[in-house]
């Protein structure tokens, strides 16, 4: 009995790059819900979230030839989503987005990847659902990618194009902010 080969994302991208456009449909099926979830949690109060997600996939399809199939497709797609979401926030002008973040400037040796226990992680995820909208965009995004999209520091750094240590710093600061919100509740 022959096994059904389930192609990886990168194999599917290679097919699309070689002209098999229908393979992109499979990729969309795999990632549509994830990107929608990412948008819902990152873009609070934006009615046009679904349109933005469509735009993400459209951009991904237009630029698919630029993807290096040796790298991870999910990081590349999330990177496009990140850019689209940031553009949406900028257009609406509801949240301040600093042009330069000093966290990217200095090394942060005291922010290694924390080993959250499953219970701890679950608690934080539940608390996050309640207080995510109170966090600034730069902290919110890291939280969503880490706790809801299960990315590690390295992947988040690749999506946001920030230093790996900055990911740790933002998570640490975000947790402190959440603690403050909860105490005030």
């Amino acid at each position: 009995m022959s096994e059904i080969h389930n192609p990886t994302d990168e194999e599917l991208v290679r097919e699309v790059q070689d002209g098999a456009s229908e393979a992109f449909g499979v990729l969309m099926e795999r990632y549509e819900d994830k990107i929608k979830r990412y948008a819902r949690r990152f873009l609070f109060g934006y009615d046009d979230g679904a349109d933005i997600v469509q735009e993400v996939f459209l951009k991904a399809y237009i630029n698919i030839q630029s993807f290096d199939a040796e790298r991870k497709f999910s990081s590349w797609l999330y990177r496009i989503a990140h850019n689209e979401f940031i553009n949406a926030i900028k257009k609406k002008g509801r949240e301040p987005l600093p042009f330069f973040d000093p966290d990217n400037l200095f090394p942060h040796p005291t922010a290694p990847e924390s080993a959250d226990t499953e219970i701890n992680r679950q608690e934080i995820t539940e608390l996050l659902e309640m207080s995510l909208d109170k966090l600034k965009a730069k902290y919110r995004e890291v939280f969503v990618l880490y706790y809801f999209e299960d990315m590690d520091y390295q992947e988040i750094a690749d999506v946001l194009k920030i230093p790996v240590a900055t990911v740790g710093v933002r998570l640490k600061r975000g947790r402190q902010m959440m603690r403050t919100f909860i105490e005030q509740m």
Binding site: I62, I64, Q65, N104, P107, V164, A165
Partner: protein
Amino acid sequence: MKPRFSFILRALLLISGLVIVTLLVLYLTSFVFFMLRSNGTWLAPVFGLRGLGLFMTSLPWLLLLVIALFVVVLEILVRHFSFGYRRPLLYSVFGILFVLGLTGFMVAQTPLHEGLWERAENERLPLAGPLYKGLRQEMPDDLYQGVVLTLTEQGFHMQNIDEEVFLVEINERTRLPFGSEFIPGDMVMVIGELEDETIKAFGIRKINYSLPRPGFGNKPPPGILR
């Protein structure tokens, strides 16, 4: 779907930009090292605070500003690559400065700039010519170089590149960090104030013949030939 070649073209442009900016900034950095070496400014700090002051005021600040701008451009280009953005900005900036400083210093030791300088003097360097021709004018005030001609009771006579002869006056306050024994033919650098044809020396040190300096190149200074 955008065709693949448009992305390849963009990547090539990015890499070409990176290479061009790197070469340009490396050339300018090595030129600064060469300039400081050739006019003797980089030896000035051995004379203490006054020498350090002279060194600071003699630095080619405009050129350094241009280099700083190129470093910013280089940093922006480098951050397109994962080895650039994964590390803090400070690391990559210091990395660029370190590599630039080291390679610039090494390039300054090669005959590259001396050759270009010679070409500029012979009107055979159209673009960078003014940069090299300006080297002579960039000699800092209060800093003199030349060859010891004759020893006197107060000090010695020194002839500079323009074949002008000065009396270098040594007194008890003159700093002589590398000794006070000068003989005719020695090439020296003098820091001091010029009054008429006498330089009241604040500091004197011997310098190496092999160092290029405005007009002397690597050839023996004219004083020795006479």
